[in-house]
């Protein structure tokens, strides 16, 4: 086992920060999407379901490459941002957040959708008769009732963001403290033939992810029991 260098510690903390940010943002935008997918039977919602699932199946490097072009100064999003006097996103932490959100979206939306489907309309109807309006119902009924699903979504989104490599490699630029996350650091160690450091780092990553997953599984079983 190699030692944990200062640079590695920085990568570790950066990764946690990235995963936490992405998870929170994804929960916020994933819930309405998942609710729509769970309860609409319209054509657009079915297509949207497949679109949301698309990052599951795209090679991350491909996704990363197109993002690099799209978000760069010559891409249309990049141009739009420039016209709004915003910095372009590649090579920045913000850029990683955006790319990771895209990449991890299905991992958050799908468990949410699953629990939302399991909440019947009945509980919402009851809340209506007790005087709760739409937003109130969401906060006081849907959120607490789908707690296990929300935890699952958060854990999967978090763990998956921690593990992503291809997208980050393509648009990150390996900047210490900004975009040099753990998966990149591990790969660098491999390439440099520093297997001991690579192992240490990979192990710490696995431990964090596995702990998160295990917690989720135990929780899920409890909810079922």
């Amino acid at each position: 086992m190699g030692a944990f260098s200062a640079a590695d510690t920085q990568a570790f903390l950066l990764t946690l920060r990235l995963a936490a940010t992405v998870t929170l943002l994804l929960l916020a935008i994933g819930m309405p999407i998942a609710w729509w997918l769970a309860h609409s039977r319209s054509w657009p919602s079915r297509v949207a379901g497949a679109v949301v699932a698309l990052p599951l199946v795209l090679p991350p490097t491909v996704l990363g490459f197109y993002l690099l072009l799209l978000l760069g100064p010559n891409g249309w999003i990049g141009k739009m941002m420039a016209s709004m006097h915003l910095d372009t996103l590649p090579f920045t932490f913000k850029g990683l957040v955006v790319a990771s959100m895209l990449y991890s979206l299905p991992f958050v939306v799908q468990p949410l959708q699953g629990t939302f489907e399991a909440i019947g309309r009945r509980s919402l109807e009851v809340a209506s008769t007790l005087g709760a309006g739409p937003l109130d119902r969401f906060l006081s009924v849907i959120v607490p009732m789908s707690w296990p699903g929300i935890v699952a979504a958060a854990v999967l989104g978090f763990a998956h963001t921690i593990g992503e490599f291809g997208v980050v490699m393509m648009i990150g630029g390996n900047r210490p403290g900004e975009t040099r996350v753990m998966s990149i650091a591990i790969y660098d160690h491999f390439e440099a033939g520093e297997f001991a450091q690579a192992n240490t780092l990979a192990l710490s990553l696995v431990v964090v992810s596995f702990a998160a997953l295990l917690a989720m599984y135990l929780l899920r079983r409890k909810a079922k029991a």
Partner: protein, 361 residues
Amino acid sequence: MSAANDGLRAALSIRRGALSLDLDIALPAHGVTVLFGASGSGKTSCLRAIAGLEHSPGTVTFKDACWQDDARGLFVPTYQRRVGYVFQESSLFDHLTVAGNLDYGFRRAGRPSSIDAARWIDDFGVRPLLARRVAALSGGERQRVAIVRALMANPRLLLLDEPLSALDGSAKTRLLAELERLRTTLPIPLIYVSHSVEEVARLADHLVLLDGGRVVAQGPLQQTLARIDLPCALIETLGSVVEGKVSALHRNDNLMELAFAGGTLCLPHAEETVGQTLRCRIDARDVVIARDRATASSALNQIHCEVVAVIAADHPAQCLVQLDAHGTRLLARITWHSWHALGLAPGDAVWAQVKAVALGS
């Protein structure tokens, strides 16, 4: 109906799958209206439309408020109608305790001081349950909590959809007694859906009969029961209801006497007190008709009546005889054989015999 102006008026055209129900009802602003009909007759659909949980074309007004008027594109959402709703099956929030469930609507109603929450909690025996998780409640307890929860949300109209149907014997009996008590004290109108004649007899002030996709009759209870133009199966199911005052107790025999215009009924006594108003349902099949007063028989109740009418029952061997005992209608199911053997005809004076045990609720 004059009640229409200050109560609920609903004219709805409900179409759901196989169901096609044209509803036009006007309910009084006070008391209990029972919506009665067979399974599948559309009772639940009707209640849901009134609550605004379903949008069927038509109009709904309640007192001074218009809840739905499709001509004007008006549809007030459920949460603004202030209707309490107790669902057919239990519908408590699993993620809250009993106290949390009760408070849900109470808080949203602004915890008004006009609501005597403590009384309801005690009346329905919910107090010992307050700290429990919902999953640890029995069926009867769940429904009691659901009812108190609905009441505490300070509704202007309370809707109950067969609150007893999922309960077994003793839980049903107990909750029915509690509802009977509620009936006399509730300041708001209540619509109660049921297909149980017992519940009709004990709770209804006003009756709406649904059959074959339409309202076949509606009106005050006794008037509606007396109608002989209804389908015979319905008449027979409904039986007769005697309302009177407890006039005497025979504690030795655990019996009591119920005095009504047509005479006195003797029936098992539980905890009733003298002077109390009581209703008693008499099943048509429990009534024997005799020309003469019987002696030395275990049939305790013999009431002098006049034969009003006879109609065919659903079994070809039988008929339904409508009797009048000084204004109270009684119904007897007998065989045509007996009808002819006794030589009965409308206008005849007869004795209706009813066993006291048949009246034990």
